[in-house]
Every structure is written in C-alpha cells, then in structure tokens.
C-alpha cells in the first residue's frame, strides 16, 4: 500500500503572494480600517464641500456677520471679518491636504535618491551624503522650517491654477516641508540598499549587464518598497501637522489663501470669546492626521516581513 497516494487535501492551500498577505493583514487591523473610513469622510467633506460652496463664498467678507457663533446659516460660525468658517474649513482643507501630499512627494524623491545613491555607491559619496543628512538631522525640524519659511517668504508671487488663485507661500511651504523631512527615509533606504546590494539577485543582474541605474531602480528599490510606503503615509500626516504649526506661527501660508493652520492663527486672538474659530479647523486636522496615522500603523503591521505568520 503506497502512502504517497493518500493525501489530505486539508493542508493543500495555494500560497499567497506577499501583496495578498499584506492586504489581508491590513484588513484585520480594525483601527486601520477605521482610519480609512475617517479619511474618506474628510476627503469627501473637502471635495463635495467645494462643489457645493464656491471659493468666492469662502472669501466673502460680511462685516455685519462677523464673529457670530455657529448657526444654521453659518454652521461653523464666522471669523473676524465675517467669512464663513465652514467654507474656509473646506477650502483650507484642500490646501492643507494638497500641501501634505506634495511635500511628501518631494520628501520621498529626495529621501530615496539620497538613500539609494549613498547606499549603492558607498565610499566618498556615502560619507558626504551621510554627513549632510546627519547635520540636517541635528537641527530640530521646526527651527529649520521656520527659518526657511521666513527666508523664502514673499519670493514667489500669487499664482493661478485651474482658475483659482493661490498665494505663492503655498509653493514655499510645500518645498520647505519637503526639504526638511527627507532624512529619515534616506537613512532607512540606505540601510536597506546596503543589505540588498549584497544579495545574489543583484550579482545576477550585473552578470547580465544591467546598468547601475537599472539595478538600483528596477531591482533593489522594489524590494524596499514597504518602508517607503509606510514612511510616505506617515509623513503625509507629519506634513499636515508641520504646515499647521508653521501657519499658526504666521510664517506659513499667507491669507487670503486659507489653510487649517492659518485659520488657527487668526483664531488665536479670539480665544476666549469665539472658540468656534479654532475648534473646527483643529478638529479637522485631528481627524485627518489621526486617520492617516491609523492607516500608516496598519500598513506597517501588514508589511512587516518579520511578522510573516501563516494567514489562512
């Protein structure tokens, strides 16, 4: 009697790809799902809101209605020159989120480039780049943000995009935040590249004559996607907060372009009497950043190669 013919098909399951495993694990992470829902809520608010309420409405000055508390007509109240805070929260949200996303794009590009080049080529280039990275690490980023923002303030004029006008400071802030947040990712990418480049698939790629560039971008980097994705996600949250800080201090995005941050700045002088001016924009920052942090946490758990447990 041959035993090989008897198989229990209960243990026969097709293996899952890493991507499928990651998605499954992400789905199990309840907070991450909550984060996705919350974030969708905020994004819908910002997008749908801007369809319902025009930008002109958000900039509409109505001195008679100034400083009025939440009401049917102005669900979030009005600010010191009578502008509707709900509208400004919607449009401010657009700017804040866009700043967050674009700043992260810059940061990722810089971080990956510096990390990959440093890790792959090593030697002198690595030393210099790492010294530079370390130097930037040693300054608290808020300090750097403030200085750079002040330095570049007013250098870029107001511009129009898609029929709307934006203060030049938006571009400034995007660049400034991007330029001060790439270091963390650079370090991680460099560490990963250092270990990956010793692996055999890289040697194999070199043997078939792949150029250095293609090795880096087509072979090594795809294997270090996980920390890049997680870092990118969490940085969006960080960028939104950074923008809020900088705008709150007054060196960020300048009015009349609204962001959640500078809405809070204006509210500072009306702390006691008009709490609605700072409460709502702040809540939205909280919701957005919170949801992104949840998602980032879920992604991190989902993609952690160390925790590769059987997920059936």
């Amino acid at each position: 009697m041959t035993t090989a013919e008897i198989t229990l098909d209960i243990t026969d399951r097709p293996p899952l790809t890493p991507g499928q495993i990651a998605i499954r694990r992400f789905r199990r992470h309840k907070m991450a799902i909550a984060g996705v829902i919350l974030l969708l809520g905020v994004v819908l608010f910002v997008i749908v809101g801007s369809i319902i309420i025009s930008e002109a409405d958000s900039n509409f000055i109505d001195l008679e209605a100034r400083l009025s508390p939440p009401s049917l007509e102005h669900p979030f109240g009005t600010d010191n020159v009578g502008r509707d805070i709900l509208a400004r929260t919607i449009y401010g949200g657009q700017i804040s989120i866009i700043i967050g996303l674009l700043a992260v794009v810059i940061s990722i590009v810089l971080g990956v480039l510096v990390g990959a080049i440093s890790g792959y080529y090593g030697g002198f280039i690595d030393s210099i780049l790492m010294r530079f990275t370390e130097a930037m690490f040693n300054i608290p980023s808020l300090f750097l943000l403030i200085i750079l923002a002040k330095m570049l303030a007013g250098k870029i004029p107001t511009f129009t995009f898609w029929g709307r006008s934006f203060s030049g400071s938006v571009i400034v802030i995007i660049c400034v935040i991007g330029l001060t947040s790439w270091m963390y990712l650079a370090r991680i990418v460099r560490a990963n590249v250092l270990s990956l480049k010793e692996q055999e698939f890289v040697t194999a790629a070199r043997c078939i004559g792949a150029s250095n560039l293609s090795i880096i971008f087509a072979h090594i980097l795809p294997n270090t996607l996980a920390p890049i994705i997680v870092s990118a996600t969490l940085q969006v949250a960080g960028s939104i907060i950074s923008e809020a800080y900088v705008s709150f201090l007054g060196v960020g995005v300048q009015p009349p372009t609204a962001t959640w941050g500078n809405l809070l700045d204006q509210a500072y002088h009306h702390l006691e009497s008009e709490p609605w001016m700072w409460f709502f924009p702040g809540m939205f920052i909280l919701f957005t950043v919170l949801s992104i942090n949840f998602i980032g946490d879920g992604l991190r758990d989902a993609m952690d190669p160390r925790a590769l447990v059987d997920v059936n």
């Binding site: 009697m1 035993t3 090989a4 008897i6 198989t7 229990l8 209960i10 243990t11 059987d310 059936n312």
Partner: protein
C-alpha cells in the same frame, strides 16, 4: 511504586485565529521518584505542551486545559491557583528549556539568576543563597565559580549556559526536573557531557526526571521508561530496553529506522524518512493521525483512532496492526 507525578487523560487545546488546535488529546503518563521518563516525538506532537501544563505555564488565552488531571503527590495541580503553583515551580518541580542562549536573562548576572529562586523558595538571605550558588556552580563543573558568579550569560558558552540553567533548576532540590530538549541546541560532545552530568546528579540528588527529546539516541542513554508521542497522542509506551528491542508501533519503528547508522555495511543506504508531514492539529480526522503516512495502514485505520492498549509487560501501543505480522490485531 506510587508514581510521583501522574498525568491522566490530559487534553489541551489552543484557540487560534486559524481554528482550534488540538495540541494534546488525552495523554497519560507518569514518573516515579529517582526514575527518568523519556518523551519522544516530532516537533509539534504535543510533548512540550504536556509538560508546560504540568508547570501551569500554558498561556491562557489562547491555550485551555480542556480535561484530565495532573496528580502530584496525590493532588491535582490543575485545581491549583496560580499562587499555589508559584510555590511548586522552581521548588518542587523545575524545568529547563531548549535554548540556553535565550532562556537566560541577558541583563542579570547568572549568580543573581541562580540565587533568586533560593531567596524566594528557601527564604535564604542573599549571602546564604550566594554560598549555595557557588556550591552548585562547582557541582556542575563550572570553573572559577567565584568570579563567574558576577558574569553575564553572554560571557558563557552554550554548554556552560545550560549548566547554569541546570544549577538554577536544581537549586531548591526539586522532586522533579523537567528537561525540554535541553541538548538539542548544543553540539554532540557537549550534549554527551550534559547527559553524563545529569545522570550523576540524579544519582546524587535522587530527583525524578522527565526528559523530552526528538533524539532517540539520547533516550537510550538516559531514560528508564519511554513514551512516544504523535499528533497529541501517546502511540507507544514501554521500558527503554523493551522499546529498542521490540518496538511495536509503526511510528516508533520508523523513528528507529531513520537513525543514521555507524554501521559501515549500511553506509550507502539512503536515510529512511517518514514521508509527508504531521497533521496541523486543526483538521479533525476520524482515524489514526498517522494513517496517511503509515506503511502498515489498513482500512480500519482511516475510520477509527486506536486507543492505547497493553500488549506485553508494561508495554502499551495504540495501533490496529501487528507490525511483526502486518496483520490486524
């Protein structure tokens, strides 16, 4: 002789995300004072889980002791509160683990780790405990005990670390020492030393030993009685010489056959293996868990799980087939 420790029909299950794992399915064994019980089996057969249940160290959740009794000196340990178990662990029943690298706390001196139990269970002062620790260290063959007392685990080699673990376990003179594959992570020469040492200590201190391993050669050295486990069941149980002389269960046979032989005449033979892999413990299968892999399988094996039956003097097996004749019992 009255057994010192007796497991009766122990059932342990783990409630995991993937389903309920039946780790131990009605296992019974016992050990007497001064004797050694060997438990043999593949990884995942439930041997570790059964002894962790004795110590009350099954994490709950996800583990649950779903039935049976563990009688120690007549009392059922499963009815004990954690506080009562605390006074048993390390004092009456001690355990040493497989990997001496990770089983010792890296940031505490070994001296402290040995003295701890004595200060706790025997109410010794720090000085008294230290004195006794130094005695233990030299008893276990660790040179320069006085200097080594203040060293940290990473400053010892693997074999030395395991000796420290043994010293820790024996410090309060326990009635039973449970050893969960303590030599698996060590190389063969060190393994021989540890086995030698254990036998000597047992002779001097008189404790009972439960020794778990997947290595049949170790069992031959040390055990008085052997239980063979598979998939959470005991499939064969015998005195050690009986087991080697006349193994009666297909699994035991296969294990013995898979031992590499030093016999030059067999040097060119392929190593025998048991095809397939053990069940995952979640799937419920009505028949004998070994059936899909068993050479001697008959139709009945697929439908009924055989119970442990005595077939000779102190020799029990759980099988439907007589391996000597190939016919059903």
């Amino acid at each position: 002789m009255e057994p010192l420790l007796e497991l009766q029909n122990l059932v342990v299950k783990f409630h995991t995300l993937n389903g309920v794992v039946n780790a131990v399915n009605g296992v019974s064994y016992s050990v007497e004072t001064g004797k050694t019980l060997g438990i043999v089996g593949e990884s995942g057969c439930g041997k570790s889980v059964s002894v962790l249940s004795i110590m009350g160290l099954i994490p709950d959740p996800p583990g649950k002791i779903a039935g049976g009794k563990i009688l120690f000196n007549g009392e059922d340990l499963l009815t004990y509160e954690n506080r009562q178990m605390e006074s048993i662990r390390g004092a009456r029943i001690s355990m040493i683990f497989q990997d001496p690298m990770t089983s010792l706390n890296p940031v505490l001196t070994i001296g402290k780790q040995i003295s701890e139990s004595m200060e706790l269970h025997l109410a010794l002062s720090q000085k008294e405990a230290q004195g006794r620790s130094l005695e233990l260290l030299s008893l276990l063959g660790i040179p320069n005990p006085k200097e080594r007392f203040n060293d940290y685990p990473h400053q010892f080699s693997g074999g030395m670390r395991q000796r420290v673990m043994i010293a820790m376990a024996l410090s309060c003179n326990p009635d039973i020492l449970i050893a969960d594959e303590p030599t698996t992570a060590l190389d063969v020469t060190i393994q021989a030393q540890i086995l030698e040492l254990t036998k000597r200590l047992q002779g001097e201190m008189g404790m009972a030993i439960i020794w778990i391993t997947h290595d049949l050669a170790v069992i031959a050295e040390l055990a008085d009685r052997v239980s063979v486990m598979y998939a959470g069941y005991i499939v064969e149980e015998a005195d050690v010489f009986d087991l080697y002389d006349s193994p009666r269960h297909p699994y035991t046979l296969a294990l013995l056959k898979s031992l590499p032989s030093v016999d030059r005449r067999r040097a060119h033979e392929r190593l025998a293996t048991i095809p397939g892999s053990p069940p995952d413990g979640i799937a419920v299968f009505p028949g004998c868990p070994l059936a899909p892999r068993c050479h001697f399988m008959v139709e009945r094996c697929l439908h009924e799980n055989p119970k442990l039956k005595t077939i000779g003097l102190n020799h029990k097996i759980a099988c439907w087939v007589n391996v000597n004749t190939g016919k059903e019992i």
